[in-house]
Structures are given as C-alpha cells and as structure tokens.
Amino acid sequence: MTGSRLRHAPAAAYLVAVLVFIYLPVVILVLFSFQDGILPVPPFQGPSLQWYAKMFSNSRLLDALGNSIAVAVLSSLAATVLGFLAAYGLARHRMRLGGAARFFLMAPIMVSYLIIGMGLLITFNLAGIGKSLVAVGLGHTIINLPLCFAILFSQFGEHHRRIDSAAHDLGASDLQTMIRVTAPMMRPTLFAAFCLSATLSWDEFIIAFLLSRFDVTLPVIIFEMLRAGLTPEVNAAGTMVFAISMSTVLIAASVMLFRRGGK
C-alpha cells in the first residue's frame, strides 16, 4: 500500500504542478480585482470592491457589455440555426457530394480568425459597407457555424432517421417534422451548441477589433484599457468576463453530460 502510494507520488506531484500552472494567472487576476490600491500587484491590500464600483460606473464598458451580449446571442442563434439545418439536411439524405459539403462547411475552422477578419474587412471595404456590430456578428457567425454544424451532425443517429420517417408516415409534412419532432429531440444539443458559440463570440477579439468602430465589444474595450497599463479595474472587468464564460461553458457541459447519462 505504502509502496504503491510512493510510486504514484511523482504522478500526483506532476498533476498538481500543472494545475497550479493552469490556475495561477486566474487566481492572481481574481485576487487583485479586490485590491485596495491603484496597482494590481503585490502586496495585496484589501479586500475592497472599489474597482467593481468603478467598473459599473464606466459607461463605455457597460455599453460594450451590452454589445457583447447582443452580438454573442444573435450570432450564436444564427450559427445554431444554419448549423442545424445543414446537419439535418446532410444527415437525412445521402447526397452525392455530402463529404465535400461537410468539408466545405468545416473549412473555416482551419483558418485563423485574423485571416477571416482581414478577408471580411477587405470585402466590406470593397463593397462600401462600413464597420459595425452587424459586421462583427456576421464574422462571429462564420467562425461558429463549423462548430455548431459539427456538434449537431455528430448527434444525428439512425434512430433520428427512423423517428423522422415515422412522423412522415403519420402524415406530418417535412416542416412539421423538423419543427415539431426533430428540433425538440435535439434540444439539449442545440442548447449546448448555442452556449459554446456564445462563449467563443463573447471572448473573440480580433474580428471584433477589425470590424467595429464606435460601438465595440467587451474584449476590445479591455484591450484599449490595457494601453493605460495595469489597473485593478481591468482585473474586475476580466473577472466578470471570466465568470460569465465559465458559467456558460459549465451549463453547456452539464446539459450535454446529463443527456449522455440519460441515454
């Protein structure tokens, strides 16, 4: 018993060391958001909520918060709907070019966000379309579409096809089947895909930076605040960003895992 514990000690030590490495910056970020002083560096004084108070009176930051939520929700909704339709179409029919279509839909995942953003910036420029949050939303939809499609496509199985044809035999039209039967069956997966897209959009910086002008999103504002140097206000904003994406991911993960368990 003691022997096996000793044998496992290096493994346990390594595990702990890497976890410390992973969580160190997060802990420091959160800790110094409660700093009672003007610099988010040691020694720690506090705790104080003054930087959260300052953050919630920063109107540019609050506007950006609203913009981020709007862009994340709308672009994820668009990506989820487009991804669902594509996954449904490709899963139900053996199309001649099905493999090619899947590859085509997945292609954006292989290209850097920066390059996608640059391409959109050039295209919108040539087309005479100005920078705006709508442009950012379109950019976020294209980066999230492959993810939504992949998640949803992987969940379509043979039993969906059978239930689908059962609905048809009972006289349901295609539209009715999709809206009343398939979509409700896929609800947990649709929700998870939506949540993951929303966190990616919520975090995304470079496309938002390239395609927005006056109305910006939260990562862009935080980046701008960094130019003024280290301040606990950025820690507070960062902690908020972090907490919101963490909860969204956890909700999505638990919905997916719960579903797996139920099967």
Binding site: Y23, I28, I115, F205, I206, F223, M246
Partner: protein, 290 residues
Amino acid sequence: MAELAKTRHQLGGFPLTRWAVYPALLFTLVFFVAPLAAMLVVSFWQRIEGHLQATWTLANYDKFFTRSYLLDTLFNSIEVTVLTTVVSIVIAYPLAYILAYRVPLRWQKVLLILAVLPFWTAYVVRSYSWLLVLSDNGVLNNVLIGAGLIDAPLKLAYTRAATVLGFVHFFVMLLTLTIYANLVQINPSYRSAAADLGASAMQIFLRVTLPLSIPGVVVGAFLTFVITIGDYITPQILGGSTEILVPQAIMLQVSRAANFPMASVMSMTLMVVVVAVYLLSSRYLKMDRL
C-alpha cells in the same frame, strides 16, 4: 390514404430537407470563400497615393520576401509557433497519460474538466493575467526577491519567452484534451498482451501506447499551430515591441498605413503555411469524416 401521404411526402417534403443544407453553404460561400478570394485578388493590387489600384503585380510579394524587416516576422512567427507546439506537447502528454492511466476512473472526468476549464475563457484577459504574474513588480518577481533568490527584478514580461509562456498555458489544456481522448480509446488488452509477452513498462510505452496515441497528439498540435501562428493578442500584450510576429505586422499595415495589399500578402503567406501543415498532418485529421 398511405399512398396519399407518401405522395404528399415526396412532393411537399423533398424540397425542404433537400435544401436545408444550402443556407449554410451559401453563408460559408459569401462570408468565408468570397472574402478569402477578395484578399487573394487584393494581394496583387497596389496602394498608390492612398488609393487601391486594381493592378496585377507581384511587387507586394517581392517586397515581403526580400525585405528582411518584413520576412523576419515570418521566421519569428514560425519559431514561436514551433516552440509553443513542442513545449505544449511535452507538458501535456504526461498530464494526459497520468489522467488516463494513473487516476481512478471516477476522478478522471472531474480532473480533466478542471484541467481544461480555463481554456474556454477570456482570451484577452488570460494574456493580461500573465502580465500580472510576470511584470517587474509582479507576483513572480516579488516571490523571487522575497525568497532572496534575486536582488533586482528579472525582465520576464515583454519578451519572447513571455509570449511562448502565454501560448503554452493555453495549449497545454487543448493538447491534454486531445491526447487524453486518444489514450482512453486505446484497447487496454494491447498493453496487457505486451506485458504478458514480457515487455517492460518502458517498452510498452514506447512500442504500444506512444505510437497509438500519435493521432491525438497530431490533432492537438495542428490546432495549436493554426491558432498560435494567427494570434495577435498574445504577442501584442506579452511580447513587447523588440520583435514582432506576422499577425502584429498585419495589424500595423492595416492600422498605420491602411496598406491592404501588403496585409493581404502576409495573410496569404500565413494561409499557405497553415495549408502546408494541414497537408503534412491530414492523415490524422479526418476533417471530412467527422
């Protein structure tokens, strides 16, 4: 009645499900393929007196590949990216291995989620957090001075090492996930068969486990490579201004000079590098077999 339903299904049903895939295809065409094509075209244009001229010239490519201050950004990017990928694998592999083989099953999922949770969160904020750790008056220098190991703060932030550290932090999580997923899929009977035949623990690892886990390493390494080489924020926040990477050079062309042709040349070059890496690793990626 059944006949009628069937006919109606065929007539009314076909169009919708058949066409369901097209909105996504069209969207990808308009907002992904067309922009890349536009960028390719613009990379052959010129910017003359502040205006884009629709010419066909290789001058921008020529300039990028002959001026060392531009080309060096590419070498810097490749060096940082390769270093990041290698270090991330070296740290992540043992972690994934320990999770898969040394941790009791009921703890595996919890520890895995714990190990990869911050991956999903706050890209800009994460780089900034490392600044808090690495800056002159930051946590690490404070600890080292407090312990009496150094007298004056080390210059840790705003260096290439800081950039690599920021990246490695991010990608250790991703690689742990892909390698773990691969390791748990390996049939345990292979390992016990090798052991029964007298292989030592080291031999089992080198001849059985490691070769079978290569796909998981390659998938994670590919994603690491693609994201690292195209990332602007990590080197911009952590790397300082003495040496810049291609994404920073692209942003300089856009923001300072509005030089879209040169920015396009650099973006296309990055694309070519990524496609080359994709082709090298495509055996393991199976993008179309999802």
